[in-house]
């Protein structure tokens, strides 16, 4: 059974969004997504300063099985990326909501958050 914490929102494309305050959100992939992908071997991160639109491809998660695109769940500017994933991509498997975070975005439009699912909605999508 996948872990889907209620303190964040989810995109149908399996990214989570956590409001860190000051209009900045952290983004990663869900426990369900990391479990479906299997052993994650590489995460291609965006660049700090990239401006992303909703649904835009911002990176790639590779597992032994396949390479999967990552889609921006909200629009905004990349203000931080999790460089530690370059050497320890398995953090996405082991701690998808913590050490496995992928990037932080300065929200361009807080209304984008309304287009995301809550934990129950996301769980219902994937059951």
């Amino acid at each position: 059974m996948s872990n889907t914490p209620a303190d964040r929102k989810y995109a149908k494309s399996h990214e989570w969004v956590f409001e860190a305050g000051d209009g900045v959100v952290a983004v990663g992939i869900s426990d369900y997504a990391q479990d479906s992908l299997g052993d994650i071997t590489y995460v291609q991160l965006p660049n700090v300063g990239d401006a992303l639109a909703v649904g835009e491809v911002f990176g790639v998660v590779e597992s032994v099985k396949a390479a999967s695109d990552l889609y921006a769940p909200v629009s905004g500017e990349v203000v931080a990326v999790n460089d530690a994933l370059d050497s320890t991509p398995e953090n996405v498997n082991q701690d998808p909501y913590g050490e496995g975070w992928i990037m932080k975005l300065k929200l361009a439009d807080a209304a984008d958050l309304d287009g995301l699912l809550d934990a129950d909605g996301y769980t219902a999508e994937n059951s």
Binding site: G38, D39, Y42, E62, V64, A67, P89, N93
Partner: protein, 367 residues
């Protein structure tokens, strides 16, 4: 889509949370917890694999040796009872029908082990090739289950369950004995590059044998390992997989398996003329193994480019070596290109292929 076939250990896999996938028409565990962890367990302690989907064929009769020696490229006449031989078998044009193991059990009595994906094709081919030989070919694939225990602790684990003297059993040799009370052909072979054993036994005994091995192996770090780890282990060891490095249009000469092709053996063999011609052809293709120095996996089917950016070959297998932390793989290129700069493009970034003579990691096979 027809129903997937199941090995006698199917319920065992499900009970141990195996992630089941369709492999060549079989419902098999690709992993239990993690491909990378299972891979590392085999290199450091031990792993248990269900390979019951492999095919087993009895070949017996006065013409068995002559038939087999004509059928395969390696020299079966060098075998003696208790000895195992690896060999490709080829079409007249030199392309591979399959690669297989031959077990010499006794006078006029051999067991041939073939790939699961090729069972029907191989049986038809063998029966067709048997014309004129006094030989009986019997498909025993459903009768046998096959469990592999691989890794540096494999001998210790297995020895705790058998009176057979494993210490004197050499690599590519086998003996018959009981393991946890189950009658087995105990073969010191495997597909991981580690020391280890393959246990052929009656299908009905498989669940009890698997449980006994897991119980005995637990204190030694034995882990269940799926097909995902089996593939990354064999690639790290540089072993060919039929359908990748060896194919109906890809000969053992191209695959770098020239050591298994015995042109001088008595009576010749199917494909010998084509393989000899290929061997002396400077424009032939060749399978090479590479590492990239980067973690991004180079996937099977990717184009291989020369210095001018032209497509001159393709990737046959690719994975991340869990031990090196680096992408490794194999590719098919013109033999003349093997000493030139080769590269692949992954999502717009060029990676140079550094050619390696496998194995990619130091292996500790028994000798």
């Amino acid at each position: 889509m027809s129903e997937l076939q199941r090995t006698p250990l199917h319920a065992f896999h499900v009970a141990h949370a195996g992630r089941m996938v369709d492999f060549a028409g079989w419902d098999m565990p690709v992993q239990y917890k993690s491909i990378i962890e299972e891979h590392k367990a085999v290199r450091t302690t031990a792993g248990l694999f269900d390979v019951s989907h492999m095919g087993e064929v009895d070949v017996s009769g006065p013409g068995a040796l002559a038939f087999l020696n004509r059928l395969v490229t390696n020299d079966v006449s060098k075998l003696y009872p208790g000895r195992v031989l690896y060999s490709p078998m080829c079409q007249p044009d030199g392309g591979a029908v399959d690669d297989l193991l031959v077990y010499h059990r006794g006078e006029e009595d051999y067991l041939v082990v073939i790939n699961a994906s090729n069972i029907a094709k191989d049986l038809a081919w063998m029966r067709q090739q048997a014309e004129g030989f006094d030989v009986t070919i019997t498909d025993r694939s459903d009768d046998y289950a096959l469990i592999a225990v691989q890794g540096p602790r494999a001998e210790t684990i297995l020895q705790s369950l058998t009176g057979a003297k494993l210490g004197i059993l050499r690599y590519y040799h086998f003996l018959e004995g009981t393991v946890a009370g189950v009658q087995c052909v105990i073969s010191r072979t495997g597909y991981t590059g580690e020391d280890g054993f393959e246990l052929y036994h009656a299908a009905a005994d498989a669940p009890a044998l698997a449980e006994a091995l897991m119980t005995a192996g637990e204190p030694h770090g034995l882990q269940l390992a799926g097909l995902g780890a089996r593939d990354s282990l064999r690639l790290e060891a540089g072993y060919p997989l039929y359908g990748h490095e060896l194919e109906h249009d890809l000969s053992p000469i191209a695959a770098g398996l020239g050591w298994t092709v015995k042109f001088k053996k008595e009576g010749g063999f199917t494909g010998d003329e084509a393989l000899a011609a290929e061997k002396s052809d400077p424009s032939r293709r060749r399978v090479v193994f590479f590492r990239t120095g980067d973690r991004r996996i180079v996937r099977a089917g990717a184009d291989v480019l020369n210095a001018a950016g032209e497509v001159i070959g393709r990737v046959l297998s690719g994975t991340l070596s869990p031990l090196l932390g680096e992408a490794i793989g194999s590719a098919l290129v013109p033999a003349t290109a093997a000493d030139q700069e080769l590269s692949v493009d992954i999502r717009g970034t060029k990676f140079t292929l550094h050619l390696v003579k496998p194995p990619f990691v130091e292996l500790k096979k028994s000798s």
